[in-house]
Every structure is written in C-alpha cells, then in structure tokens.
Symmetry: C2
Subunit: 195 residues, 2 copies
DNA sequence: TGCATCTACCTAATAGCTTTAGGCAAATGA
DNA sequence: TCATTTGCCTAAAGCTATTAGGTAGATGCA
C-alpha cells in the first residue's frame, strides 16, 4: 500500500483548486479525498473536520490576496496605488472565484485575528496616507473602500453586471476614479458641510 | 391522519424564518419538514428540490426588500431619498440576516429576470434623478451604490466592523453622506478631469 | 348522500457527505 | 533489527436529498 503523502498544506491547496473549479460551496472533505484517490476517513488525521478545511482555504486565500496587494502597492502612491490595489481584488476574484469566496468565509474571532485580514486593513490605510484624511475619517474611508471593492466584485461575480451596457470594466474604472475624487475632497461632517 | 396544510407559500415563509434564526446556509428541506412536524418526502409534492426552496426564499427576500425600498422612497428625493433607501438595506439585513443572505443567492437568469431585482435597479435610478447624472454615468453610479450598500452590509454582518472604533452606525452615516457629495460632484472621466 | 377521483402525506429505499473507532502496514529511529 | 509512531484503511452510524409507490382524507359530481 503506497502512501499518498497527505499533509494539511496539500489538502488545503487541493481544496483551493477545487473551490476555483466547482465553487467554494461544493468543496467537501469527500471531494478532496477523491482528488487524492484516498478514503475520506484518511483526511481526518490531518484535518479536524470540514469546517477546519474551509477555514484553512479561507486563510490561504486571504494571505494570497494580501501578498498580491503588497506587491501592487510597492512603489505606488495616491491614485496609482488606489487603482492598483483595487485591481488586485477584482483580478483575484476573476482568476480565483472559489478562493475569493473562501476569503469571505466567516472565521472564528481568534482565527480571524491571526489571519491576513489585518494586513488588508493596513494596506488600505497605507493608500489613504496619500490623501488628506485624519481619524475618524480615515477609518470611515477604509470601510468605504472595503465595501466598494468587496461589493462590486461579489455583485460582478454573481453576474449582476453582465447583461447590461456599459461593460463592467468601464464601470470599475469610473468607480475607482470617483473614489479617488471623493478621497481628495472628503466632505466634512454633514452638519457643517459647505461642500 | 390530520393534514398539515402545506403550501409552497407556507414552506417558503417557514424557510425564511428558519434562515433568520439559524442562517440561510442551514436551511434544508429536512429542517423545514421538521418545523411542520411532517416527513421530509412530503415536501417534494410542493417543492421541486432544495434549490427550488432556496430560490423561493431568495425571491421572497428580494420582494420584501423592494417593498420596503419603495415605501422609503415615497415622497423623498435627493439626499433624503438616498439616506432612507440606504437605511432600508442595512436595517433589513440587521432584522433579517438570513433573508438578506438569501437575497444574494445566485438565481438562474430567467428567475432573476422575473424577480424583484429589476425594481431595485429602478429605485436606484429614481434616486439618481435627484442628481445631475446622464448615461453612462448613471449606470456607473447605480453600480457604485449597489456595491457600497451590499458590500457594507455584508462586511458588517460578517463582523468586520464590530471590534473597532468608531462604531458602525457612524461610519454608515458618513459614508452615505460622502456618497451624496460624490453624486453631486460626479467627476468627469479621468482623462479630462479638472476636479 | 354516496361514490369516484384527486391529492396530501406516508413508508421505503438509494445515494452522498460527515465523523468516529479501531486495525494494519509502512516509515522512522534507536 | 526491532519497537514505535503514524498514515491510510475498513466499518459503522447519523444526517441530508431525492424518487417510487401506497393510503387515507378531501373534493366534486350524480
């Protein structure tokens, strides 16, 4: 009996590939076992359970996304940085739809704290350094950027923009441009706004 | 043998309630059957399958959300309309987290076309009439609003904003205000922008 | 009212996924 | 070379989905 050489890392990687091929929801312990031509029960020496597998795929995706973000941000600032970072999200979701979905998998608080999630927020703040925002507006802006990136990408993945003109790429560019403009002219609180 | 009086509507309603209680992912044909104290197979006279059940819950949620949106928009315009409509999304997601998730369930194209989804887009365009946008910018703006509303609400539901200051309500208000400002001063295309 | 039909819900069965318990053989290391 | 560790296996129980076919309650018509 030749051993398959299973490790948590290989299982996670295979799960991530499977997610991209058939969707994160369809990733099961059984399907991963099949991929290694191994009995299902064998995976339970490496994984706690199904939730554990999904959590690991989510962490992998978050880390990959953060790595790409860091690379994109290197040597860039201002609108250039904003655009590059935004494209990282959108491109990743298009190249790896299953992993992108995995990245939105709800993690347990402790796991989330130890994940690459924090790096994402740090990078957004780094981008915002190119704009003139101070707390608490910077935090509001981080949340806005996160919402737009995630919201757009997931609506697009759901096909929401695929059956109407203009094409999605154009909206994406214009939206990122408009965010740049908004960040450059972030309005003061409504009650005192003279915008 | 007393009959339970199952109908597609009651099953859908029960499924929606279940979704709010335990999460849309946990809504199963079995769980709904249990709720009516009926055998699982009995539901298959009313529902095609599990996917059918989920689709119906999604349609219910989309319709409820559209109804609330329409009510909120009545007699309002401009920033007032924008704020009220935005709050409809956020409040609905908070009151009915399972239904809100259901509303994002990917529908088959024909089902989607017949759903309340179109009403949502129409309402956004109605709001934008209060701003000075013409095509294709209006479409870009519809997509931006959809992205921000959905993105913010789903990140918030995932707990992304719950462990840091300032509190989520404040960010939400400021973000909606900033969108209002952005729509009032929508930048021309980048290449010719003098913003 | 009585009977035929319809249909709502049932039992039974198959199949897939999850998870645990316990076993054997390959790898490791003294 | 032998003991130990450990990787993968078989077996089994429990849950969900789905289909086929049966029975009794509800409905409609004479």
């Amino acid at each position: 009996m030749v051993r398959a050489g299973l490790t948590v890392e290989r299982l996670t990687q295979a799960g991530a590939e499977l997610a991209d091929e058939v969707g994160f929801e369809q990733v099961t312990v059984s399907a991963v076992a099949r991929r290694f031509d191994v009995k299902v029960a064998s995976l339970y020496s490496h994984l706690k359970n199904s939730h554990d597998l999904k959590t690991r795929i989510a962490q992998l995706a978050l880390a990959e996304l953060a790595d790409r973000g860091a690379t994109a941000l290197a040597g860039r600032a201002g609108k250039d940085a904003l655009t590059a970072f935004a494209d990282v999200y959108r491109d990743y979701a298009q190249e790896h739809p299953g992993r992108y979905t995995a990245a939105r998998f709800r993690l347990d608080p402790e796991v989330a704290a130890a994940s690459a999630g924090a790096r994402h927020a740090q990078m957004m703040r780094a981008i915002l350094r190119g704009y003139d925002l101070t707390e608490p507006d910077q935090t509001h802006a981080v949340r806005l950027l996160g919402s737009v990136f995630h919201g757009y990408v997931s609506l697009e993945a759901a096909g929401a923009f695929s059956h109407s003109a203009p094409d999605s790429q154009e909206s994406w560019s214009r939206i990122v441009e408009s965010l740049d403009a908004l960040l450059r002219h972030w309005p003061a609180s409504a009650s005192v706004s003279a915008y």
